[in-house]
């Protein structure tokens, strides 16, 4: 269960302050499938980073499974990221000069999974993200944008998270591969996992059961599908 209470995020660079989030409050129950939509620069990625415990809000409270995460220490946040959250970045953020399999298995290294087991789990994740097994030993900089995106998704799935957060996961995919990825999300959601994804495409948002629209750092609509 995710609960946000008047979350704000202010970026200040010297004299200039950007109000990226202006008092966001909502709840997402376990097993929900939520799409976040909004124009560019409206604060979607900022919100997602806070949900993923990658960044901390300037003010407001974030309760994750009843615990106030906004007061957590850095170590505790790292543990939450490791155990509960899978994150697909808008910019993929793959390790350069590393193979697909090493990229996907990376979170398992920090979770202390032994090597052989890491690779079998990683292979499964690669397949469920819709990438050919032939690509397992490609270096991440030898992949197309769409392939990188699927590697990023596989990496988010690999530690079997209860919450999957995806920042424009289909942005670089053709309709067919996009469908494969969305089917994976649907399957994961049916297994009881919480899914939050950001998208610009109404077609993609239609897969979700609830759509939150934001603009200029505030929620303008929140309705179920």
């Amino acid at each position: 269960m995710i609960e946000l209470k008047s979350i704000t995020k202010i970026y200040s660079n010297g004299d200039i302050s950007t109000y990226a989030l202006k008092g966001i409050s909502f709840r997402i129950k376990d097993g929900e499938y939520v799409a976040i939509m909004g124009p560019s620069g409206s604060g979607k990625s900022t919100l997602m980073h806070i949900l993923g415990c990658l960044d901390t809000p300037t003010s407001g409270q974030y309760f994750l499974d009843g615990k106030d995460v906004s007061s957590f220490s850095e170590e505790e946040l790292a543990d939450i990221r490791k155990e509960k959250i899978g994150f697909v970045f808008q910019a993929f953020n793959l390790l350069p000069r590393a193979t697909v399999i090493r990229n996907v298995a990376l979170p398992l290294t920090y979770a202390g999974v032994p090597k052989e087991k890491r690779f079998t789990i990683a292979e499964k994740a690669v397949v469920s993200a819709g990438l050919d097994e032939d690509h397992l030993h490609y270096y991440s900089n030898q992949l197309s944008g769409g392939q990188m995106q699927r590697v990023a998704i596989a990496r988010a799935l690999v530690n079997n998270p209860s919450i999957l957060l995806a920042d424009e996961p289909t942005g670089n995919l053709d309709t067919k591969t996009g469908e494969i990825v969305l089917d994976t999300f649907k399957r994961l959601n049916n297994e009881g996992r919480t899914i939050v994804l950001i998208t610009h495409e109404p077609d993609v948002a239609m897969h979700a059961k609830r759509i939150i629209h934001i603009k200029d750092g505030g929620i303008i609509s929140d309705e179920s599908n």
Binding site: D55, R81, L94, L95, L106, T109
Partner: protein, 407 residues
């Protein structure tokens, strides 16, 4: 993160940019290699100087003319050229000072020596038969000076091996051959065994003649330049030194010991002086090498700072997928330590090869010590940990999103 995974990550990171890893390592390899080689040269020199002092004989005391100004002033005081010691003094020491095993008076001169077709300028020592025992001189051919030759001022000479090879072609037996010392005819009666040593003060570049002969034909007076005294054993050295001093003060009618016209040294003093000189020399060499080690360490720090900056996004990503701050520190520290340790190991091999080459090619005495290896390794490990820790800690403190945004 498990240790084995950490090692694997380190391997990947270091092999991802082989050239840079190699260049960074090179700084450490050269630094450690030169520290080891320099210390080996210094300690080798020290050992060979001490060996050559010891090869002069054991339980030795030296008496030279001139006042004692402290050992450090030997050269400037012009001692040895003063004319205060005579053969009488030597004879008195032998007969009156207890615990004296043997006494050898010496008159050292520098003379031009010629054999048919060759010539050399070398040290001529006029002495007595006891010299061979006192100064551990052994003969490879012929015999040393004897009492008859001394009494009758015979013109006979015993050659040191260097003087011999300078004067006679290899293979010729010099015993019985004629040479001229300062235009005076002498007959060669023996050749000594090499003592080893080289350069200035080579103990093998010498010609021994009877003391009386030297005084009559070469010096033209009755003075001597040094008396070597062998004490009965090491324990009686101090007593013998005091006995000689008292005896000579009395004989020379000097009441104030501070005004003595001679000085008595023992071998231990000379060894001590030589070791201060050589250890200063070793320290000098080591500090030059230490500077190159420091430069190597700065290279590591530089590389660590660059990689950390270059890989800030990677750090952000690792933290985003659950890496703790300590995992990030461990990873970068491990990289620095791996570079310094493998560089250290290669440096030890390089230092060893370098000393081997110096010994084989240039004939320099070297001595690799465990101390220098431990020192070099310790320093490189400290450099790796110190210079790796700072950038690693800095990197670990970034928040994942800030790190991922880093350009």
């Amino acid at each position: 993160m498990k240790a084995i995974d950490l090692l694997e990550e380190t391997y990947w990171a270091l092999t991802a940019n082989k050239v840079r890893t190699f260049l960074t390592m090179l700084g450490i390899v050269i630094g450690i290699g030169s520290v080891i080689a320099m210390i080996a040269i210094g300690q080798g020199t020290q050992a060979s100087i001490q060996a050559s002092i010891q090869s002069a004989g054991s339980n030795l005391l030296y008496i030279v003319p001139g006042a004692q100004h402290g050992i450090g002033m030997q050269v400037s005081s012009g001692r040895g050229s003063a004319r205060t010691l005579t053969q009488d003094d030597a004879a008195a020491i032998a007969s009156q000072v207890p615990s004296v095993a043997a006494v050898a008076p010496q008159l050292a001169l520098r003379e031009q020596i010629t054999a048919p077709g060759t010539n050399t300028n070398t040290q001529v020592i006029g002495t007595t038969p006891d010299y061979a025992g006192v100064r551990s001189v052994f003969l490879q051919e012929g015999s040393f000076l004897n009492a008859n030759q001394l009494a009758s001022r015979e013109r006979v000479a015993v050659l040191g091996p260097t003087a011999e090879s300078d004067l006679f072609a290899t293979g010729t037996d010099p015993v019985g051959k004629a040479i001229k010392i300062n235009q005076v005819d002498f007959r060669v009666i023996g050749v000594t065994v090499a003592k080893g040593g080289s350069g200035f003060n080579n103990p093998d570049d010498v010609v021994y003649v009877p003391l009386t002969t030297a005084q009559q034909y070469l010096a033209g007076d009755r003075y001597i330049s040094q008396i070597s005294v062998e004490a009965a054993d090491a324990a009686s050295m101090d007593a013998v030194q005091a006995g000689i001093t008292n005896l000579l003060l009395q004989k020379h009618r000097i009441s104030n010991p501070a005004l003595a016209d001679f000085s008595v040294y023992n071998q231990a003093d000379i060894v001590a002086t030589a070791s201060t000189v050589t250890s200063t020399f070793t320290a000098l060499l080591a500090s030059i090498a230490g500077i190159s080690l420091l430069v190597g360490g700065i290279g590591i720090m530089n590389m660590m700072l660059t990689t950390v900056t270059e890989r800030t996004r990677e750090i952000g990503l690792r933290k985003a997928v659950g890496a703790q701050r300590k995992d990030v520190i461990a990873q970068f520290l491990m990289e620095a330590v791996a570079i310094t340790f493998s560089g250290g190991a290669l440096g030890i091999v390089l230092g060893w090869l370098l000393t081997l080459a110096l010994t084989l090619a240039a004939g320099i005495t070297t001595q690799i010590s465990l101390f220098s290896i431990l020192l070099a390794f310790g320093v490189s490990a400290a450099i790796g940990i110190l210079f790796g820790y700072y950038p690693a800690r800095r990197a670990s403190r970034l928040n994942p999103i800030e790190a991922l945004r880093y350009e």
